[in-house]
C-alpha cells in the first residue's frame, strides 16, 4: 500500500535557503529519506516552493478561474511530501514520525489509491 505524507509547516517558521538554519533542516530531511530509501519504502519525495508560488484552478460553467495562491489559507502550509510504500498504516506512521516536519509542524499520512496500469 502506498501512503503519501503531506508536510504542513508554517512558512514563517521555515528557514530560507542560504540562511544558517537551512542547512540543518535540509540535512535532517536527507537523513530521514536516506533511512527510508535504505529500508526500501521511499518511492518519491520533494520539498515544494512556497505557497505564494501556488496557483489554484477552478472551472465552473465552462469558465476557468485562476486564483493566485494556495487552495486554502491555513496557519500551516503544505510544503513538501514523501511517497512511501508500506505494508500497513503502522509502518507508514512509524516512518512519518522520522520526518523533521513532524517536530515543527504536522505530517498528514494518507493512503494512496492504486490506479491500475500505473507503476
Amino acid at each position: 500500500m502506498r501512503y503519501i505524507c503531506l508536510l504542513y509547516v508554517s512558512e514563517a517558521d521555515l528557514p530560507a535557503p542560504g540562511t544558517p538554519e537551512f542547512g540543518p533542516l535540509r540535512d535532517a530531511n536527507s537523513a530521514a529519506s536516506a533511512e527510508m530509501a535504505k529500508a526500501g519504502v521511499l518511492v518519491d519525495g520533494a520539498p515544494l516552493q512556497p505557497s505564494r508560488a501556488a496557483t489554484t484552478i477552478k472551472i465552473r460553467g465552462g469558465e476557468t478561474l485562476l486564483t493566485d495562491g494556495p487552495y486554502a489559507e491555513l496557519k500551516e502550509q503544505l510544503n513538501g511530501y514523501y511517497l512511501l510504500e508500506c505494508a500497513d498504516l503502522d509502518e507508514a506512521v512509524r516512518w512519518a514520525q522520522t520526518i523533521p516536519a513532524a517536530r515543527t509542524g504536522s505530517v498528514e499520512v494518507r493512503p494512496v489509491v492504486r490506479v491500475e496500469g500505473r507503476p
Partner: protein, 417 residues
C-alpha cells in the same frame, strides 16, 4: 435477547469475529458473517441442543458464511479473487485456529491509536463485546445514527488506510497495550460514573469492561498492568451497591454502608492485585488497584490507612503527573493529616484549567472548607461545582450539602476565613 442461548452466542462473539477477520481480512464482512452464524445458531440450538463445542460451531459456520459471501461478491464482480482465497482457505481451515492470537489482534485493531477515542470505544463494544449499535447508543445516550455512523467510518478507515490485524510486538507493545487498557478503563468509568445516565451508573458497561479485562488477563498472563486493571475494576465495582441509597441518591465513600459491598468481588480483586504485584513490574493500574484495595478492605472510612493511600497517590503522580491525581492525593492527605494540609495542596492546583472544570475538585474543596467550619467558602465551592453541570446524582448531593450548610450557617460556630 437476554435468554441463556443468547448469552452463549454472545460469549463466543469475540472469537468468531476475530477468526473470520483473520480468514478474510475484513472486519465488516466478519461481523456480518458472525451475525448470520449467531442467527443460525439460535434457530438450530432452540430446536435441537447446544453442540458440545459451541465456539467451534459458531466459528466454522461464520467462516463458511463469510467465504460464501465473498464468493458471491466475486462472481458478481466477475473477478478471480475467490480463486485466490480458495487456495489459502484449505490450509487455514485444516489448522486449529489460533484463537487467542486472533482475539488479541482484533482488540488491538479496534483500539488503534489512529482511530478517534469515541470510535475505538464503539468499535470495541461492537466487534469485541458483541453489543448491538442500539445497545451502545443507549449506554452512552447517543443517537443510534451517530453510533452507526461512527462505526461505519472507523471500519472504512481500517480498510482504506490498512490498519493491521496484528498484536504489536517489541517496543510497540507497551504503548499499544496501554491504549487498549485505557479504552477498557474508559468503558468502565462511563458505566461507573455515567455523565449520560440519569441513574448515575450503567452496570452493563462495568460488566463489559470487567469481562474485557478478565479475558485480556487470561490471554496476557505476563503483563502485570492488565491484571492490575482487572483488580482495580473489581475492587471499585464491588462498592457499587453502596454508592447509591434507596432513593438513588449518591452516597460518599465515608458514609457508605460497607456491609453492602460485594465481599467476593473484593477478594477476587485482591487476589488479582497480589498476582500482578508478584511480577515485580509496578505501573499506574496496579497502584490505583492498591489504593482501591485499601478502601475496599477498611471496615470504616476512619479505619482506612489514609497515610498509605496518600503515599500511593504520591507514587501514582510519578506515573501520571496530572492535577487530577494530585487532587486525589490532597484528599488522602487531608484524611491522614487534617483538612488544612489537604487544602494547602488543593490551593496550589486552582490555576489548572482542567481541574477548574472538574466538579469533584470543587466538591473536595467544599468538603474540606466545611470541615474547617468555613461555611461561606464551602458554599461557594459547592456552587462552583454545581455551575459545571455535574451528573444528576452529584447535583442532588451538592444541593443537599448546600442545604445543610445553610442550616449550619444560621447557627453558632460559623466563621469566615
Amino acid at each position: 435477547m437476554t435468554d441463556d442461548l443468547t448469552a452463549v452466542v454472545r460469549q463466543h462473539w469475540w472469537t468468531t469475529v476475530a477468526s473470520v477477520t483473520r480468514l478474510i481480512g475484513d472486519l465488516e464482512a466478519a461481523e456480518d458473517a458472525a451475525q448470520d452464524a449467531c442467527v443460525a445458531a439460535l434457530r438450530q440450538w432452540r430446536q435441537a441442543r447446544v453442540p458440545e463445542h459451541p465456539e467451534r460451531w459458531l466459528v466454522s459456520v461464520a467462516r463458511k458464511k463469510a467465504l460464501d459471501a465473498q464468493r458471491r461478491e466475486a462472481k458478481r464482480a466477475e473477478k478471480e479473487a475467490a480463486a485466490v482465497r480458495d487456495e489459502t482457505r484449505s490450509s487455514i481451515e485444516s489448522q486449529a485456529p489460533a484463537m487467542v492470537d486472533d482475539q488479541l489482534a482484533l482488540i488491538f485493531m479496534c483500539c488503534h491509536p489512529t482511530l478517534e477515542p469515541a470510535s475505538q470505544i464503539a468499535l470495541t463494544l461492537r466487534a469485541v463485546c458483541g453489543l448491538t449499535t442500539s445497545e451502545i447508543a443507549r449506554a452512552f445516550l447517543t443517537p443510534e445514527a451517530t453510533v452507526a455512523q461512527r462505526l461505519v467510518r472507523a471500519k472504512r478507515k481500517i480498510r482504506e488506510a490498512v490498519i493491521p490485524f496484528r498484536t504489536p510486538d517489541g517496543d510497540g507493545l507497551a504503548v499499544r497495550l496501554a491504549a487498549v487498557l485505557r479504552i477498557v478503563y474508559l468503558v468502565f468509568t462511563e458505566g461507573h460514573r455515567s455523565n449520560a445516565s440519569q441513574a448515575g451508573t450503567r452496570p452493563e458497561l462495568c460488566r463489559e469492561a470487567i469481562h474485557l479485562a478478565s479475558s485480556l488477563a487470561t490471554m496476557m498472563p505476563g503483563e502485570p498492568e492488565v491484571r492490575g486493571l482487572l483488580a482495580l475494576l473489581l475492587l471499585v465495582d464491588a462498592r457499587r451497591p453502596g454508592r447509591f441509597d434507596a432513593e438513588g441518591q449518591l452516597v460518599l465513600l465515608d458514609e457508605q454502608d460497607r456491609s453492602l459491598w460485594d465481599a467476593a468481588k473484593i477478594a477476587e480483586g485482591e487476589a488479582h492485585l497480589a498476582s500482578a504485584l508478584s511480577l515485580g513490574r509496578p505501573g499506574p493500574y496496579q497502584i490505583q488497584a492498591a489504593i482501591a484495595a485499601l478502601h475496599s478492605t477498611a471496615s470504616t472510612a476512619a479505619a482506612t490507612d489514609w497515610a498509605e493511600v496518600a503515599a500511593l497517590y504520591a507514587e501514582l503522580v510519578r506515573w501520571e503527573p496530572t492535577a487530577v491525581v494530585e487532587a486525589n492525593r490532597a484528599v488522602a492527605v487531608a484524611m491522614a493529616h487534617g483538612p488544612t494540609a489537604g487544602l494547602t495542596i488543593l490551593d496550589r492546583l486552582t490555576d489548572d484549567p482542567r481541574l477548574e472544570a472538574w466538579p469533584p475538585f470543587h466538591i473536595a474543596r467544599a468538603d474540606l472548607f466545611s470541615r474547617l467550619g468555613l461555611i461561606e467558602r464551602a458554599a461557594e465551592a459547592y456552587e462552583k461545582a454545581l455551575s459545571l453541570s455535574p451528573p444528576v446524582p452529584e447535583r442532588t448531593f451538592i444541593n443537599r450539602r448546600l442545604g445543610e450548610l445553610a442550616r449550619r450557617g444560621l447557627g453558632p460556630g460559623a466563621e469566615k476565613r
